[in-house]
Amino acid sequence: MKKIFSFPKSLKKVPNHYCPGCGHGIVHRLITEVIDELNIREKIIAVAPVGCAVIAYDYWDFDCSEAAHGRALAVATGIKRVQPEKIVFTYQGDGDLAAIGIAETLYAANRGENLTTIFINNAVYGMTGGQMAPTTVLKQKTTTTPLGRGSNNEGPPLKVSEILAGLDGVCFVERNAVCSPAQVLKTKKAIKKAFENQLEGKGFSLVEVLSMCPTCWGKSSEEAVKWVEEEMVKSFPLGRIKG
């Protein structure tokens, strides 16, 4: 009998610490499936963020470095430049990639570093308990925007993918979501493309993933999925942005 579904080799068989309904676990798995399919596990060097996914290396079965909050792409640049034949990727939340690390992100992208970035947009700072993130949508309530994010106080959400797509060094940007099986499959396809681009030496690729954070959104898992589908996509339309 042909085996059509199995546990990814690159994913450790351990329970994860993410909240029920969290999107991180899904994306972790997609990455490992892609790495297995491309048969690149032994060449992978990952850079974990500061955020809920800081201990991603507890789940991934390949080499990994932590980076200080926001500096993942500077660390990844250092790694890739001294080991250009390795496949280096960063996994970062919205606070990490788009607030404290926006300079490192913008410059790595603009240098056209041959790297892959998986960008988890859950519209809040998950790890620190649900504060406003750069991607918090207008009127969204967080612990630091109790009245909802205001366009003339906090400013509108930052559309990092669109900004990065405008840079010549960037070869591929796509925004996806993990709110339904169909979207999960699309996300996986984009992740695969982003790794293939690096294998082909094409430059900087980024996949943004709209991801549920039921805990900080104060929603059930079902409500969280619905909120991505119905609200979040209004500010962050899905689809290919570049490449």
């Binding site: 290396y57 470095s65 932590e66 250092g78």
Partner: protein, 350 residues
């Protein structure tokens, strides 16, 4: 190639040393008075298969060094005071993750933007940790261009040996002054052991993880104790200092770096006037040569610490002699350099 005599500035000597020591990665951000270093690194590193990056900030530069070092390369960044303040985040992570790295600070006047005059007012920051957490850098302080070369080569070796960041603490004077130094034969054998911990892809081995986060109960304390053990070993092995006419001296002057050059001149003048002065010059600022200084100070009437600061190394000197000898101080900062005449005058009033 045989050894070569070269005329060069302190900044140039850093570049010669880095290349000689097998540095393969440099990232930096422009700041005076060390701009010759990135300029020369950008010219030379590529031709030996190394990587030069002008980073978007000192934060990015030090974190690129973190990555390059995690991937096994000998890596360096250089800056001056305000830039070194920005690098403290990365330095703390590098120390915590036990990565080798060489960091050069050509100190300038502070606080704040200060000025570009030579200064020694970053001593506390360099020797007491600088960033957050209980960690130490090995801090080496050259007083000449030759020594800048020698200590920078040594810094790369020590960084690998102890898996620890090493800082060269210079100043604007050292950066710019031109002296002769000897560039040894090329083809140096790099003696670092295989970096089995480096990130190279998990081929035929279990994954390597570079981390500073330890959440399991007791794990961070255990990590800290391991670091402390390493620091005790460094204190045992890596202390260096110079003594100049200290044996029969009545007055012992203590100074480091370029300040010690001026003090040496003052010691000679004092001797010619019949005053028995001597110089104790710490070369490793951390680990500080406390025992050696205590021994040297034992039979002296007085100690005089001279710094281009308002008394930073002074505290380590006082701790070393623990009240056995009285310790006087002469210091200027913010561009002021204690002059030879002022030192001589101060000694005469003691």
């Amino acid at each position: 190639m045989n050894e070569k005599k070269k005329l060069s500035s302190g900044n140039e000597a850093i570049v010669h040393a880095a290349i000689y020591a097998g540095c393969k990665f440099y990232a930096g951000y422009p700041i005076t008075p060390q701009n010759e270093i990135p300029a020369l690194m950008s010219r030379h590193l590529g031709s030996i298969g190394g990587v030069f990056i002008q980073a978007e900030s000192e934060l990015a530069a030090i974190n690129m060094v973190f990555g390059a070092s995690a991937a096994g390369a000998r890596a360096m960044t250089t800056s001056s005071s305000p830039g070194i303040s920005l690098k403290q985040e990365g330095i703390s992570y590098i120390a915590g993750a036990e990565l080798p790295a060489v960091i050069v600070n050509m100190v300038r006047g502070g606080p704040g933007l200060g000025n570009i005059a030579p200064s020694q007012s970053d001593y506390f920051q360099a020797t007491k940790g600088g960033g957050h957490g209980d960690y130490r850098l090995i801090v080496l302080s050259p007083a000449s261009v030759q020594e800048t070369f020698d200590l920078t080569v040594k810094a790369f070796d020590l960084a690998d040996k102890y898996r620890n960041p090493v800082m060269i603490l210079g100043d604007g004077l050292l950066a710019q002054m031109i002296e002769q130094f000897i560039l040894p034969k090329q083809n140096r054998k790099i003696t670092n052991q295989k970096k089995t911990w480096a990130l190279t892809g998990a081929k035929n081995r279990s994954p390597n993880i570079i981390r500073t986060l330890f959440l399991k109960e007791g794990a961070l304390e255990e990590h800290n104790l391991m670091l402390q053990n390493k620091y005790r070993l460094i204190e045992k092995n890596e202390i260096s200092f110079e003594q100049y006419l200290t044996k029969d001296a009545d007055i012992l002057l203590v100074a480091y770096g370029t300040m010690a050059r001026i003090v040496k001149g003052a010691v000679d003048s004092l001797r010619s006037q019949g005053i028995k002065a001597g110089l104790f010059r710490p070369i490793s600022l951390w680990p500080f040569p406390s025992q050696a200084l205590k021994a040297a100070a034992n039979d002296k009437q007085k100690l005089l610490v001279v710094e281009m600061s308002y008394g930073q190394m002074l505290e380590d000197v006082k701790l070393s002699v623990a009240g056995n000898v009285s310790v006087e101080f002469l210091g200027r900062a913010g561009g002021g350099v204690p002059r030879e005449e002022a030192i001589i005058e101060k000694v005469k009033t003691l």
